[in-house]
Symmetry: D2
Subunit: 344 residues, 4 copies
């Protein structure tokens, strides 16, 4: 089958033929319809320090996808049948450590990620442990194919009660744009979206932002205070990784409010713990992956009811062979979500 492969250390990705994976007794073999391309794939392409430290070529890349069940292992439960459309959680976890046993499998220390630590989904077929597979049940595969990053956004926004809240989204890449729409669909009183790129702000507006702000030209602090009766934001979702955004978040979150951190700053950021955190009595939550499977359950409900539609964020679609173009689109910094149409 065709796959996009990291063949060896160093930059680049290669489209090549690889063997179709075998389906073990607890596995599900899935024919991939759609897959999402992510910043992580760019890091692997570029072979940046993180990728050098973690990945062991050769392997097939890609960790966001949806497709059709084509084969079921002998021990897989009866709720799955061939022909069903499904997506899957890409974090394969041990299931028996403290984290896995207490509802925090998303921080299992033995996590193996598809497309990073083992073969991924930029391929015609992928085999997944059945426990990671979720029925789409009416959700189109082009949406199912991006439920992994959408899940990061759900996890970030819905780890507190959002209804009636003033929510500030810092960073309007695809996950930030999803977060805007999710906060809105969950009944936020206002969703303020911030980015330095006007194209991304336009996407945020399409996703339902009450106000979009460019820190190059707008006074973010003044706008948040104006929209929050002078109190500040109830919830800040930091999705950019920019140190300046972190400081903005701590500044405009209300006393007793929450800051959820998904963005990954490069290197250390100096923090004034007294004034930015302690004296404000705030709560900070580090977001990694998706709650398994509370986040997925929420996503399925938001998507099936139609109250949230991520499609306005999809700006580019390519066939598998055009992975270079997909990577280039992400590298441009102006893309929303970039997806690969692999099969159907």
């Amino acid at each position: 089958m065709k796959a996009i492969v990291k063949t060896a250390p160093g930059p680049g990705l290669v489209v090549r033929d690889v063997p179709k994976p075998a389906c073990g007794p607890n596995d599900v073999l899935i024919r991939v319809h759609h897959a999402g391309v992510c910043g992580t794939d760019l890091h692997i392409y570029d072979w940046n320090p993180w990728a050098q430290g973690r990945c062991k070529p050769p392997f097939t890349v890609g960790h966001e996808f949806a497709g059709e069940i084509v084969e079921l292992g002998s021990d897989v439960h009866e709720d799955f049948k061939t022909g069903q459309l499904v997506t899957a959680e890409g974090h394969i976890i041990c299931g028996h450590c403290l984290q896995c046993r207490t509802g925090n499998g998303h921080v299992c220390k033995r996590t193996s990620i598809i497309g990073v630590d083992r073969n991924g989904c930029f391929a015609e077929y992928i085999v997944m442990p059945s426990g990671n597979v979720m029925l789409l049940d009416g959700i189109p595969t082009e949406i199912g194919g991006i439920m992994d990053p959408m899940g990061n956004a759900f996890h970030t926004v819905l780890s507190t009660e959002v209804s009636g809240s003033i929510v500030l989204i810092l960073g309007c890449g695809p996950i930030g744009c999803f977060a805007v729409g999710i906060a809105k669909a969950a009944g936020a009183a206002a969703v303020i979206a911030v980015d330095v790129n006007p194209k991304r702000l336009e996407l945020a507006r399409k996703m339902g932002a009450t106000r979009v702000l460019n820190p190059k030209t707008d006074n973010v602090e003044a706008a948040v205070l104006e929209l929050s009766n002078g109190d500040g934001a109830d919830l800040v979702c930091e999705m950019s990784g920019a140190p300046s955004a972190l400081h903005t978040g701590f500044k405009v979150v209300r006393y007793g409010g929450r800051v959820h951190l998904l963005g990954i700053p490069d290197g250390d950021v100096p923090i004034d713990f007294a004034n930015e955190i302690v004296f404000k009595g705030i709560t900070i939550y580090g977001v990694i992956g998706r709650k398994m499977y509370e986040t997925w359950n929420l996503m399925q409900r938001f998507l099936r009811s139609g109250q949230f539609d991520p499609r306005p964020t999809i700006t580019h679609r390519f066939p598998l062979e055009m992975i270079e173009d997909a990577i280039a689109a992400i590298r441009s910094g102006s893309a929303g979500k970039v997806i690969l149409d692999i099969g159907s």
Copy 2:
């Protein structure tokens, strides 16, 4: 000033002139614009057993209102100014018992309710302790005047996370109809509304119900299972007080789900604790009043943002003098919310 007074034990209410109340140092004197009429007022009118046991005539009735600040006590803080439009929590609590000290003032055992235990708001003026007064800040007084019962609905619906949930509302009186709209605005995936009165179901539909059901003609259980993928409702809000509704709620709530009880059944209801509660692992919450003041804060945000509009539930408006007509409208069982236009 004019007021609607319970002059003596026995049925009936009288419109009469009473002295305008004096404003103490910690009080706010409010000229009433709008007031809501409630089932409790009907009980006082009828002088039912509950009223006989609790109320001590003569007193002015009415506990839901909004109006304009016309006088401030000498010790009232500077955020209040004459001319501001305000509403108020009608439960006056002690402030220093265990419940008051730990965020549960709504169940303070020393609660004194306006229009029940002391003079109420069906009058041209009412005096309130400043701590009970809330700025409307853009919310119209016809809405402000019914924030007390709306608060019951917010308290019932939002005492758990509703976004993405399947919510079942049993009983579509005014509070049930508010609950429909609140659940919808808070991002419920589906809101199913149940009542035996088609007029009330029509109001529930206007408030945004995904599906309305009449247990006389519809199979409620089958409909809930159909809309919930066979799992049952995540949250059941029992707002009718009907024993049959209680059993329906316990039957269709999902395993591990929640049942919030606002309705007040007459007398005892036999319950099969094993099968209705314990084996299903559910949580039940008894709802009384409004959280002081978390519920009010949520209400102000939902109303100011425009994400929730209770006005479709208002079906009748009368001047103060027509209280008999207002009572009759409520007694009919087909009314939505009935309000009094008192001043402006």
Copy 3:
């Protein structure tokens, strides 16, 4: 191997030789050291209506045990090794329904219970899915063998914050006695234990009850109010199933407090929802099984640290062959925990 078997419909249990179970690829074969005998086993012995409706003889009974790993399936993870002492959760769940996917596997509708729905642990060996097995890691097998009912007690007591609380335990059978000790170890300010049997009250006292009360001779309501500064209990754990205990619980729980229900009343109990639940603003939680595996994690910590020791509740020990005596001890109503010494 020897096992205690329900051979056919009708009263009684039989000790007989049965084949040693085979260990599947995901299973763990355990040589049983200790097992706990439970009221459920009595129901199966007596072949009461519940047992008639649910159980399908022939099968080996028993669902509480601990022992030694003697064989591991080929796909079992490397943290398990032969020779390790372990216990296991007796509820085998589907893993992919809504409840299982959202942290509520204890109410999975497809639950299969060992010793009820499939072969149990009153035998020399039992085979368990590896996911249900927990390392004892220093906890003796006589304690490990009763972690299943202890888990019910942990689940009941620790489903809210107990530190500094006034806790009322209604019913001092083995699970009630465990609950006393757990509440104490979790920092309850006072633990009040109630039972009609003086022997059980003596066990509750040994487990650390601040006060023990016999409703036949003591005024439970007065005592709770005295110990709670007139406010009532913060948490009531109903573990008796007696309707009178339910009413006592609702009466003495404080406004805004919690009632956790583990006891199973026979038939319907008439409840005054208005005064017992709604007006008091309380929360009720139905307790079934153990949270998988949050409850087990808590138990392991309480037991390994030594802060909780359940052994004072163990009043009877018998070899496997003396199951009739074990059943008789439970039937007497005066026993604490009854265990079987099966192997070592």
Copy 4:
């Protein structure tokens, strides 16, 4: 009356006669028995940059105390009577801002602190708003006099569920030592206390620490992992303000665990957000003051039940006149809690 006064900008404190304060209608006049001396008092003595920016001499210092009610304002409720022993929350809050209205009065932006922003308690008498006053009801005034800092410790430790947890206390000043005892009394499975001062570690040990560690000589990370089965601490309480302690906390908190920050670092601390926070999926909570009045309720219960006794931390007692000696004791860095015996 005698009082310890900051008479003017610049270092030092003066014992002098000042007028006895007048008791307003909502106030309580208290004769001070015991008062606690705090690091904040040292900052005011030293007139450090924080004090220069905030305090406006002349004023009486001191914010931790207990004593006897000697006069009640005309509007104070009937639960208070002269002769009762009481303590008080020293943060006087506005009561009507968003924070005050939603259970977060401890971060009210209009907070006025006794002994900092208005006259304090290092005096024979102090007048307090009745809403801030709490009955000791059996708690001795020497303990009541230090419930303010004890409250910081309760707030830090009990803002999550502690029973069965591995708790790490970084910094064993008086509040850290209180935290050790509180965690222990709340059922922590292990409490590990860390400080560079052996005298303070000795106090922590007296307060019940499972293990005390000096980072100069002990490997803190190794010890925490050993005591936590390799998982790390469930809860880290950072009470030292040392940047190195912050990094240690982030390093040894378990994946998905919590870090509660009470200590105030000087200046900025560079943080590796990716590895210290985000990838670990942790929650951080900034602790300021005490929850009003949930924390006080918890304290009263822990103290009245006797499950927590802070007295081993009291190392120095002085009369009012010896404030210089009290300040010197704190400055030494080896003191536990220092209190003033003012009256009786």
